[in-house]
Amino acid sequence: MSGEPTTNTIQQWIETQRSERSRQDWIIDLGPFVMLGSLIVLFTALSDNFLTYGNLVGNVARNSALLLLVALAGTFPILQQSIDLSVAALVSLSAVLTVILISQIGFLAIPAVLIAGMFAGFINGFVFAKLKVPSFLVTLGTLSVLNGVALIITGGSTITFRNPAMRSIATGELIPSVPNLVFWALLIYAATVFLAFRTKFGRYCYALGENESVVELAGAKVDRYKIYPFVLSGLLCAIGGMLLALRISSASPGVGDGLLLPSIAAIVMGGTALTGGVGGPHRTILGVLVIAVLQNGMNLTAVDPFVQEIILGAVVVAAVALSIDRRKIDVVK
């Protein structure tokens, strides 16, 4: 069988399947790596400061920690073929809540904010799963509601707190020369990857993204598993908002603005298709790094901030175009 072309048609068919699959996966799997690699080569050539520990960890990693959290939050709803558009608004509200609660209840602010985030996510999930409202509509609504609440709480202005102990949660270094922000983000990254591949929750997320009625007939409590991704999303956004507030000891109602688009771009670029079922949180980090490196590199090479906006938007569209799901071009027989 080895080397010799076999005459067994089934064996031949099996080999064709193997070669076709690997060729297709090759492109999808390697895309973000190639992109990241070329950006790193480009910026290393253009700027002496780019490829230094200080820049990579202190700037790229630390500045992208928040984006990573928000992108991970958005990954699970997208995996199950829904979407959470309220992530950025929830980050803002959580940041604002953190600042206010710290001055009143100190460390207890942490669990309080996390529970509030999960509750907001639960509402999203509940309306989506039980009342059958399309998720983009639900979360577009909550986006507006959450923004409004944040504005009311703060009266529209920036609020601050003074609590060095709590501030160090975000700014300290539990592990020498690794900023805590990066440490927490990576810890949560590992946890979400575990959730995606080693738990029933993760398995059903992928399955629901593919075909809900199959999962239901297989005996899963579908509604419950459609709500969980939103609760998780709420939790991760709350963590993100909280770390953001702790890091700068202040928060304003618009602090999370501008995170939504890059987070979705990172998810899609990583390989999680908007049609659900493929990709996963383990790949989302690639998309985040592409965006982070691109932003950092453009800053180092002094690209006009307005032009940066244009480039970022173009990259997002290009990434979505490249990651078009193969089943859309597959002729269903």
């Binding site: 048609t9 738990t199 899963a220």
Partner: protein, 525 residues
Amino acid sequence: MATKKTTNVESAENPRTTRDGTEPCLRTESISKSFRNVQALSDISISMYPGEVIGLVGENGAGKSTLLNILTGILTADEGQLYVHGEPVEFTNPREAAERGVSLVHQEIDVLPNFRGYENLFLGREKDTIGLLNQEEMRNEAQAFVDDLGLDIDVNEFAQNYSFNEHQMLEIAKAFHISRDAENPVILLDEPTSGLEEAGREILFEKIDELRDQATFVFVSHELDEILEITDRIYVLKDGKLNGEFETESTTEEDLQQSMVGRETASDYYRVPDQTPASEFGASALEVDGICYEDEVGPVSFSVERGEIFGIVGVEGSGKQRLGRLLAGALPATDGRIVIDDTEVVPNSPADMVDAGVGYIPKDRKSEGLLLYQSVLKNTSLAMVRDMFGRLPFLNMGAERTATEEMIEELNIKTPGSKALVHGLSGGNQQKVVLGRWLARETPVLVMDNVTRGIDIGAKEEVYRLLRELTDAGISIVLIGDEMPEVIGLSNRIGVMADGTFAGSPVDSSPDNKPAEEELIQRMI
């Protein structure tokens, strides 16, 4: 006139170029085609005469699609020659073939839903005056054209408002229209009944019959009874070769099966001798007592013993399919009770029924049975995931890997591996994955809705063997089916459904007492 003749290689030397003095409107001479190392077709010589309806049958992979593609110019033959009305032709694309009178009506109808009938008819060949569409002219011409054909469609209607039948008629009209300059077109119908219900099938057959003096039809289907009903002559393909040519009048389903599969059939086909005898049944596994769904289904009562196959037949709309969904928990029962292993179940959701030990195999495996773009492993373990580590949220990766490997082995699932996507598997192997999902979970009661739908004869035989093995192991099966001979052949008892409930008590169908098809049909209506 039993001119049953098995054509083989000698047909190449002796092609039937004429019949009663007429020239065939389409003839192939020793056509061969190979893909890489696979010989898809070898030495196919067939002829089609004006006014004929020709059947083309064969298992999946026998070369039917390749032959159709060559006839319509999608593929080019490696060897051999096509003749249209005796004239050698070479088609390089479907358009060319259609203009010479050979066109294909697909399995998936390709009509633009947001276009009107006449717009679809003229699609790609619109009439215009310097870029402006002559809509009125096209509309009138289209209506006159379909009226001439005797097709009852309104060309001014949007195609999305057409019934499946009307779509098909529009497709057929398109085929006629495109080849209107050719003399006696040949229209190839690829699985034309796969999306049709009983009534639609009748309409299609009627139309084919009416149009047969204007065209030659080639009818490709897995459903042998349809082939026998509509055709005049049948070609059987097997492993890329022409394995037989039959005059329909003197042919039975068994003749065709034998020619397609190449092994003897008869009652051995359904393995009737292996049927678990009533004396070996275990205790009652499933008891259904007066179950209802609003006023549409029920009340239905029956019980299934351990090791029994309980068949359910009925016409379309008799409620047999809904009964299956009730048993699956996918439809909430409004009254009645279900008892499994002496425990009463409240079927509020599929989860409840799965917990109670009922596995459901839906009729449409692509939309309800499988995660097409996920692996064989994830599909096989989908039902067992729920019970892993009790209520803990973790997956037992080792257990699911073992279970999947076991199922691939036991059910003989032909796949490149447990990580291959089920999308790439053949229909029969896909169905085995769905079956494996329930076996991996050790489900004692299986409810199957048309378990052999759309799979080829070889795979059907394998499924029948599996069902016998399962009942030997004490599994109970509720077998809902549209194909009467299959349900009769496999079942121990048969419930006949009419108007949502059983017409009389279940019919005995033990090996030496199989009911006749007519007997059941009488009860169905």
